[in-house]
Symmetry: D2
Subunit: 301 residues, 4 copies
Amino acid sequence: MASKTPVGFIGLGNMGNPMARNLVKHGYPVVVYDVFPEACKEFQDLGAQVTESPADVAERADRIITMLPSSPHAQEVYTGGNGILKKVKKGSLLIDSSTIDPSVSKELAKAAENMGAVFMDAPVSGGVGAALAGNLTFMVGGVEQEFNAAKELLTCMGSNVVYCGEVGTGQAAKICNNMLLAISMIGTAEAMNLGIRLGLDPKLLAKILNMSSGRCWSSDTYNPVPGVMEGVPSANNYQGGFGTTLMAKDLGLAQISATNTKTPVPLGSQAHQIYRMMCAKGYAVKDFSAVFQFLREEESL
Amino acid sequence: MASKTPVGFIGLGNMGNPMARNLVKHGYPVVVYDVFPEACKEFQDLGAQVTESPADVAERADRIITMLPSSPHAQEVYTGGNGILKKVKKGSLLIDSSTIDPSVSKELAKAAENMGAVFMDAPVSGGVGAALAGNLTFMVGGVEQEFNAAKELLTCMGSNVVYCGEVGTGQAAKICNNMLLAISMIGTAEAMNLGIRLGLDPKLLAKILNMSSGRCWSSDTYNPVPGVMEGVPSANNYQGGFGTTLMAKDLGLAQISATNTKTPVPLGSQAHQIYRMMCAKGYAVKDFSAVFQFLREEESL
Amino acid sequence: MASKTPVGFIGLGNMGNPMARNLVKHGYPVVVYDVFPEACKEFQDLGAQVTESPADVAERADRIITMLPSSPHAQEVYTGGNGILKKVKKGSLLIDSSTIDPSVSKELAKAAENMGAVFMDAPVSGGVGAALAGNLTFMVGGVEQEFNAAKELLTCMGSNVVYCGEVGTGQAAKICNNMLLAISMIGTAEAMNLGIRLGLDPKLLAKILNMSSGRCWSSDTYNPVPGVMEGVPSANNYQGGFGTTLMAKDLGLAQISATNTKTPVPLGSQAHQIYRMMCAKGYAVKDFSAVFQFLREEESL
Amino acid sequence: MASKTPVGFIGLGNMGNPMARNLVKHGYPVVVYDVFPEACKEFQDLGAQVTESPADVAERADRIITMLPSSPHAQEVYTGGNGILKKVKKGSLLIDSSTIDPSVSKELAKAAENMGAVFMDAPVSGGVGAALAGNLTFMVGGVEQEFNAAKELLTCMGSNVVYCGEVGTGQAAKICNNMLLAISMIGTAEAMNLGIRLGLDPKLLAKILNMSSGRCWSSDTYNPVPGVMEGVPSANNYQGGFGTTLMAKDLGLAQISATNTKTPVPLGSQAHQIYRMMCAKGYAVKDFSAVFQFLREEESL
């Protein structure tokens, strides 16, 4: 343990905080930075070095993990005036676990390469609970030879680390999955709602779908209809889970990637719009399965 | 076996033919009718009584199964000038395995009730292969006390007979399942296509989706991308399977049911339109997973 | 004037009432019926004969106009147990101004023909205001030789009477127009909303659209953005005008017609779903231009 | 005329060529650049200075117009290694007539401002014909005080120069108009197609729409149905006009702007997908009104 060299961690929000703590638990000395200084406080108490900027982190650690809310944040942290790349050491390993536009990941990888460093994208699936429990899934894109080095760190925070291909493919895998998830969740909500209005019992309908070709994760593991399953957000007024705003954000990334690659995504695009409308109508902080509630309300006439 | 009373069977097309043969195999004497007299020929050779009209069938059998292509056909066969109800015996059991508008099933049930007969809707899932093998799934709607009587016959043709509730709920279950199926198939095609264009290997992407929240029957059992799985239509130039025209028909029924019950089905409705456009563009007889091919072709510029 | 023979009028609701009053103003003796007896009261005071059923109307008048809320109502009034066709006189002219499924219009025309009567569909465009002012537009389908006879009556209630073709084409023209109207209204709301968020002044944007290829009735005559125009529902909190529920109903008819004729209508179908969701979200009684309000609200996060 | 100072022009493609020629016609000495040297040849013959790079143009002219195919091209021409901003003179006026992402226009304006220059976005409406005839419409965004200086040049190439507001609003106006145009064109194609299938004569239906609330530029000026109007692409097998690929590109920009501003655009988004599918199905070089043809073909079954 004593031989472990320090690992930088930038972005100590809801997800980054438990991820960095899991690194500490596994015996890694950490060097942290967050735009909100108070976010670093508890890591200081845990013995971490607290720094003033991403560039400072890069000066003190040659393996850095970043967990940031969006593409512009990632661009600022890597290529900004006090960004990592200002002081990155040659041969450093930079792992970005943010969910961002894959074309931005590629940009950052090229900029890192120019400085002699290696950049990998490694977005996660699984929410705050999985981050706390250390069983996130990481989808990793980047140079294959560096995958093992990345995996060593990522397995401290996740139970599943999947190599996806060249830089950007980690992001690609994540947004493709989430786009399909959104589509099948809305589809499940529509099918359950239609069946109920046609006189079917919701539990029976779910059972029929789950033994038929309509079966999907949204119908059999995360059913959006209250009363069908326990332990899911629909059983708890759509609290917790994966927020509608976050789903809208990921669908926006899918949309931008599809537009840039001229790929038709008619349902993905419509799913994006539906989550966008839900955000505009007060569902922003509810779990994304609340689309059932959004669709079902009675006509006033 | 000798004690078995005759069973009527009307509609000896691609599906009805093997279904009726399975009844014969189970030792039931059958009384058949089809608008195309030649369709009855082979049943005559098997010892079946061939009749001139649905009314004739009703005269000779008090249990009748119908398998017809659409709502108007079903209306004609039950309530037309030479329809079943013209000569139906009191207490007869009428089982309609056609996939039709559930509101038409309700209409026919009422008309049957007026004549002292019982009508149940029992649409199937599974195609010609399952009909031949006798392992269709039947989704049955109607008076619960009659379910066992219906099940006795249906188990000769299917391995799975599910009671869904009052008349029309068999249809409801089927169209809800198929609507969700269409949505998740198109979603799978979009997600796979987007991922491929973003640089992911199709097999790897399918593997990632299938261990994640995007998992669905269309991704793990019937993947639409050639080369990902064997033994599915996408491995065979989209031949066989469940035709695009049939999917478009079922989505049309879902659409009509949703319109009649004022249920919003934004993705179901869009899926309907996509299969409609595919029919207009030469995909009518291909398997419905050919939506991957419909979406993927390269831009000409 | 004295020589005018009586005209039957069935359906004295918001639209039917002023239409029938305009017939009276033009000197026609009227014979009325409505399911709500109180709706007939004021016509009794005007000298009209009040009857007990549609069949009664048919007994006393050989020209009858019907104005009903939906296809099933029209079917009941024409072909029900006490319907017009029970006692219709040979050679009667039956004009249905309801907005219904064109295939139902055809059905009723055939039933009327069997009784020796002539049925024409003549749905209206223009709301209660136009009905009061007597300047509705009638779109008329039916046998061309009878058009002049129909026109004589319809010109008492409308300023524009257009012959569209065989039976059902009046309905077809209306639902095609309203489908395009809904699409361009939602499109206008989206374009205005997007422009405003991108920093454009709404009045300036409307001006630019109206002198460009985006120009449409919804942008230049009925703009959905408050403050852009006066005298339209958007200037009055979306009160008055053409209700969202009515638009959803017409789009439902378009949907059913498109499904029956296997016509792809991807945007018409999506417009239907959007108005359906608006009905579920409290916009049912607002003018259909309130789609701008439905789309614009701020994200809560 | 002799006193006119040189004007730079970068991007001499289908649109840029006739625009630059119109500047020459109005007596402006021009300094040109294009990535394809042969594109400059004919301007040399007209007496223009031909340069080696955008930076060279900026050295020799303090008013520059750019006409480029996409955001990345514009970024390269302005901020690339040999870009305009490398050698731009203080006080220069830079007018970009490309259609690009408004957020890129804002970026470029900021970069120009840092060098003491003024950047305005001035995308055009009207195609090659209007460029040749010098009657384009320019939608101009940027500092209001500079609008007259820009207008002096733009009126040589267009008949209509509209000030839209701060930088980026020219682009915003253009993409909002084109998004609404695409929506109403598809809507017109759907409504006409549905009406025809329901038995209406196309010319009569167009006439009814155009006197009703469905009226729009696509129905009354550029009708997509062959035989309804003369002198439009639908009368000429959808040749000429505004290509499907270009419309798909503009809808992509609308999509990206909507995603960035979190604006719901459900129909705009669907229109984008439809034009995307058309590009994938062989319609890329046809006029965008060919969506009628895309939707109408007969079912093969």
